[in-house]
Amino acid sequence: MITAKGLYKRYRKTVAVDHLSFDVRPGVVTGFLGPNGSGKSTTMRLMLGLDHGEGQTLFDGEAFTDIRRPMNKVGTLLEAKPFHPTRSARNHLRMLASANGIGDERVDEVMDLVGLGSVKRKKPKGYSLGMAQRLGLAQALLGDPGILLLDEPTNGLDPHGIHWMRDMLKHLASEGRTIFVSSHLLSEMQLMADELVVIGRGTMIFNGDVDQFVREFTQSTVIVRSPSAAGFASALEGAGAVVAKGADGELVVSGMEIGAVGHLAFTANVELSELSTRSASLEEAFMSATGASEEFIAAEPLAGNADPAAALTPASKTGGADNA
């Protein structure tokens, strides 16, 4: 169990983390989401005492810096390639293991576990980003910890690697471990995470389960196909629904439950060929929840311009761009 209370970090005039408090429960994967520059990495560094700030984080009731042999309790992966280029991967892990009373046999075991057993004596400077991430995960798993704190662990992994990482983290969570993982791959997070902590500009946007987040920040729509679509659209609008026409001629109805749409079709004697609900994705919910919290906003491409560079125009969004 991780308990974070009042985490706060300021860099000169910029507040990076603004009094964040949340719990991360054991037995589930908790995703940590936020736009670039929202303070995710800083939050994780604060939790581990790497950065100095305010607030307190307890890992099963203990502050990280008070834990003797912390790798046996909390496994971490923060940066993609924090390795000395000429020290072999195995020796890198041996070095960290030696500070935590972990034997060389466990080093070999985790190297095999993450699929790097055959290259464990190679220097990590020759590793791809994906291999470096696997080594980072091996480092996190070294002490067989009950808590894992991983910053963007799927960065640089190929699809097989991402799949493997997802299964691994879900398996570890099913063993009752506490998994706190940040990622930009929202589709992955939707498959992997059970609960979410979502932040924007260092402040809490949401803390709860994934389904609740999607429900809270998006609107489900009802899809209707009918030979009498035009007429039924008028009836729906008359009943207070908002109706849009989809790309294939279907009606996209919002503001009315699927049951009410069906009942209206029945009473209006309208034939339906499809009546279904379309739920929003985590990505849509994330965009909706954090749209105003983006710190760095890129230009948007203009359609129909041959020159990609000239096709860029400043985004119309407001919020962070002026201040960034």
């Binding site: 560094r45 581990l48 790497l50 912390p70």
Partner: protein, 260 residues
């Protein structure tokens, strides 16, 4: 603390640079008695010559081994930042003071051991060329050699402190080379200018210049012709040690306050 010492020992011994720096340091230091042996193998060994040969030219102003060990000291802390390993290090060993103390103890022990090995090798070379080393364990050679070990140790700790202070390798390397070789020599040279003779009392507080007096045989006037009023061997060593302590302390305090 034992965990921290184990960590630092593993860190030091799993780096290839540790071995080639020590190897080159030992070779360079051993080159001095070899050159002496070829150049003056049939002459009588005086205490000054014995000291220079065994400390590998350090008391002659070319402290090869001390410089290479200082680079190892710089790497002990500077590499952690240069390669970003400070993060995994602090997640494996979050007690910062314990980590720094372990680095100081392990690097110091390695420096003392390597310096003794170097002296033994150099003494062996002298024995081969001259057949005997008169007065090796007597005054004035003995205190000069003890002073050499202390000098190498303080030099190394200065490097370690600089690496931690600058949180990197290049700046620390610049200072460790620039301060003794250029800055202090320039200041000593400027004292020869009559208008700048007010610098004379400053010279005895120049850390690397004062440190070199740890290895002196006989008087501490360094044969410069000017009376700088140097402290005695251990007083001068104290000046060098105070300089190293200042750097290490400042770096240690900042390390505890700074973000990793």
């Amino acid at each position: 603390m034992l965990d921290a010492l184990r960590y630092e020992w593993t860190r030091l011994t799993t780096l290839r640079s540790t071995y080639w720096l020590i190897g080159i340091g030992l070779l360079c230091a051993a080159a001095i008695p070899v050159i002496l042996g070829f150049a003056a193998g049939d002459e009588t060994l005086f205490p000054e010559i014995i000291a220079v040969a065994i400390n590998g030219g350090a008391s002659f102003g070319i402290p090869f081994l001390a410089v290479f060990m200082a680079v190892i000291g710089i790497f002990a802390t500077g590499h952690e930042y240069r390669h970003g390993t400070i993060q995994p290090t602090l997640t494996a060993l979050p007690q910062r003071s314990r980590l720094i103390l372990a680095k100081i103890l392990v690097v110091s022990a390695a420096t003392v051991a390597v310096t003794f090995v170097s002296m033994a090798v150099n003494a062996g070379v002298l024995m081969i060329f001259f057949g005997e080393i008169p007065g090796l364990f007597d005054d004035p050679v003995r205190p000069a050699l003890v002073g050499y070990v202390v000098y190498a140790l303080i030099y190394t700790l200065t490097g370690l402190g600089l690496g931690l202070l600058f949180r990197g390798v290049p700046s620390a390397l610049v200072v460790i080379f620039l301060a003794p070789l250029i800055i202090e020599n320039v200041i000593v040279g400027l004292t020869m200018v009559p208008a700048l003779d007010w610098l004379v009392p400053v010279v005895k507080f120049l850390p690397f210049t004062a440190g070199s007096l740890l290895m002196t045989v006989g008087s501490t006037d360094m044969g410069m012709g000017t009376d700088f009023g140097f402290f005695d061997r251990w007083g001068s060593g104290g000046v060098f040690a105070a300089f190293a302590a200042l750097i290490v302390s400042a770096a240690w305090i900042l390390f505890k306050k700074r973000d990793a």
